[in-house]
């Protein structure tokens, strides 16, 4: 799960990681009030779940509260387009207004989980090339990134903080290395306590005054850890997600919207991805990823159909089920129920295999529904692509 910069910064504050003073605003008036109370040059930053906000016009410096008002007025409500948002952009609902820093140097500090075999630990990454896209740095100048794997049984040790600080050129300065140790300690505690999956402080700014401060912050969380972090779970912002994906998530359906016109309904994540691949291979474009899961009831299947058919791009549907725990007769009943309750006019290819396949096929045949039958995996994809020709 992703959260906003202002939410990330408030978590950082709670773990003693210094961040600029500031507050979030949803109106230009409020932005002006915040700038007034800061009483110095401020920066107004669009709050969306995507990077590259500055280049897209979502970040503005304001010398006066009036300028903060004007900046917020421009940014709030705009469709902010960045390299991470897609061509339609994301509507800005909130801005963060905070004090600017006197930058002497920009650093990068990040944390991820290394999932490679025999590693399986949390890793710190730091670089003197702060303020840049770290993936670009990794590609062009990998030697500029220093890594520190934290042994899980021991946890993060002060010597590791010193190692990173030396790598960043802060090691010999007593004050800076102490500040840095404090920041890394806080980040490690936050990462573990809240089940984070990624932390990025980019840039971590060294100010002219000799302070380290997290000027930008991105934190992602492990969805599977949310059950024990209700405070994090409530930071979810549905406005940032595709509306159909929100409906799907709340209905317990695993759905990801794509750009194509052939919808698919599949059981199992691997088979769902494969079905997309096969549609593409057969010359079509998949409209979505959808895994109905192993315990899907006819109601759940009807919900899945409602989500699929709500996408206006969809011109045909491919149902691909390999019944294991999920029985084919149950799927058939779900399809019949959905066809009855939703006015389904789209052409459909159905491929059923596995548990109770004969019962399932019989139910569908007797239902009077119009659909094309396929037995093979690739045959199903070819048939649905052919329907659109």
């Amino acid at each position: 799960m992703k959260i906003h910069e202002y939410q990330a910064k408030s978590l950082l504050r709670a773990y003693n990681v210094p961040v600029p003073n500031g507050e979030v605003a949803d109106t230009p008036e409020k932005a002006r009030d915040i700038a007034k109370s800061l009483n110095k040059t401020s920066i107004v930053k669009a709050q969306i779940h995507a990077g590259g906000r500055g280049k897209g016009g979502g970040v503005k410096v304001a010398k006066t509260p009036e300028e903060a008002y004007e900046a917020a007025k421009k940014i709030l409500g705009m469709q902010l387009i960045t390299h991470q948002t897609g061509p339609e952009g994301i509507k800005v609902q909130k801005v963060l207004v905070e004090e600017t820093s006197n930058i002497k140097k920009e650093l990068y500090l990040g944390m991820v989980v290394d999932r490679a075999r025999d590693k399986e630990c949390i890793v710190f990454m730091a670089s003197e090339a702060g303020g840049m896209d770290i993936e670009e740095v990794a590609k062009a100048t990998p030697e500029k990134i220093i890594k520190c794997a934290v042994p899980p049984a021991v946890g993060f040790s002060p010597f590791e903080a010193r190692k990173l600080a030396y790598g960043l050129g802060l090691g010999t300065d007593k004050s800076l290395s102490a500040q840095f140790a404090n920041i890394t300690k806080g980040l490690y505690e936050l990462f573990v306590a809240k089940d984070a999956s990624l932390v990025e402080i980019n840039p971590l700014v060294l100010t002219v005054e000799g302070n380290l401060i997290a000027v930008d912050a991105k934190i992602n969380f492990d969805d599977d850890g949310l059950f024990r972090n209700p405070d994090i779970k409530q930071l979810r912002d549905e406005n940032e997600e595709d509306p159909l994906e929100v409906i799907a998530k709340n209905a317990g359906v695993n759905y990801i919207k794509l750009d194509g016109n052939i919808a698919c309904m599949v059981n199992g994540a691997g088979l769902a991805m494969t079905t997309m691949d096969l549609i593409k291979m057969a010359g079509g474009e998949p409209a979505n990823f959808l895994d109905v899961g192993g315990g899907a009831s006819p109601d759940q299947i009807e919900k899945a159909f409602r989500i699929l058919t709500a996408d206006p791009n969809v011109k045909a549907i491919l149902v691909n089920i390999f019944g294991g725990i999920l029985r084919c007769d149950r799927v058939a009943n779900g399809i019949i129920q959905a066809a009855k309750n939703i006015d389904m006019k789209l052409p459909m290819v159905i491929r059923l295999q596995g548990t109770n396949v004969d019962e399932g096929k019989k139910l569908l045949k007797e239902s009077g529904l119009k659909f094309t039958v396929a037995d093979g995996l690739y045959e199903a994809a070819e048939k649905v692509v052919a329907l659109l020709k």
């Binding site: 999932r115 075999r117 990794a138 899980p152 994540a269 494969t274 019944g323």
Partner: protein
């Protein structure tokens, strides 16, 4: 012989009293699996179809000689249950549960490193050795006893591959779902090493998916350690970057972990790469036919 599961396997089911646990225990008993005990803390003294339930795994080990654990425990308690099994001396722990936090699995891996236990999962369909038994919930009817090993990160896609083989009259030695989580108990490499040593396995199907480097690690391993032919497919060529595709581990992050990268690595390692998953069975059939031809 096959791998992991054999005639001496005595299974304890953790979470046996839950609806999933009970249902799949019955299915695996029907398949021939020796289930000797169940564990649900607080429900010791009960029984499920005559299978005694204990409060602790240690009791199941001591009283029933359990040496394999099958877990259907809730995600929140699974790491604890896995570690309990390892500590009780269970040699093979198979966890079907989906939704276990990554930081919990980091801890579990630490415990695994200091023990002799093997772990499969989490978030997996389990293991099946036709003729011996099954742990987990692969549909029973798809299997046929034979000499092809099937290993996969996916569930239903594994069934597809097994079903293709069975329909071509080709049986399986052991089929393993290693699970869709970012940090699995065992990776491809661990299992490939076992298959290589297994006299009952002559060829392998390996099904990977986007995310992580398990397939690249497997490719490295295959290049220098595997004499048996491997047919491989990777799911998710059309998956968008940065999105978690159902499985927690199936995500392209920072441009890394794409299907094409993995296909390339496997191809370079001499693996027979098949980009159409409907053709996996046929590739194996060709390999087996060639082997037969050579023997004559």
């Amino acid at each position: 012989m096959a791998i992991l599961l054999d005639k001496n396997s005595r299974v304890v089911v953790q979470g046996i009293t839950g609806s999933e646990g009970t249902f799949h225990t019955r299915e695996s008993v029907k398949f021939g699996t020796k289930v000797v005990a169940g564990v649900t803390p607080g429900k010791g003294g009960m029984d499920v179809d005559g299978i005694p339930v204990y409060n602790r795994v240690a009791d199941a080990v001591e009283k029933q000689g359990a040496n394999v654990a099958a877990l259907y425990t809730p995600a929140a308690f699974s790491a604890d249950a896995i570690i309990e099994s390892i500590e009780a001396g269970i040699g093979l722990v198979v966890c079907m549960t989906e939704g276990i936090p990554v930081t919990d699995m980091i801890k579990v891996k630490q415990v695994l490193k200091t023990s002799n236990a093997r772990m499969i999962g989490c978030n997996c369909p389990g293991i099946t050795t036709p003729g011996v038994g099954k742990i987990g919930f692969m549909p029973s009817f798809i299997h046929k006893k034979g000499n092809v090993g099937v290993i996969s990160r996916s569930g239903t896609l594994t069934y597809e591959a097994i079903w293709q083989l069975t329909n071509l009259g080709i049986g399986q030695s052991t089929s393993i779902g290693i699970g869709g989580d970012p940090i699995p108990g065992s990776g491809f490499v661990d299992m490939l090493a076992l298959y290589e040593k297994d006299p009952d396995t002559v060829a392998l199907v390996m099904i990977g998916e986007i995310g992580g480097t398990a397939e690249e690690e497997a490719a490295e391993f295959i290049k220098s350690n595997l004499t048996k032919p491997v047919v491989s497919f990777i799911a998710g060529r059309t998956a968008p970057p940065g999105r978690r595709m159902g499985h927690a581990g199936a995500i392209i992050s920072g441009g890394k972990g794409t299907a094409d990268e993995k296909f390339k690595a496997l191809e370079a390692a001499g693996v027979i790469v098949e980009k159409n998953p409907a053709e996996i069975g046929k590739r194996i059939q060709e390999i087996l036919a060639k082997k037969k031809g050579k023997k004559k």
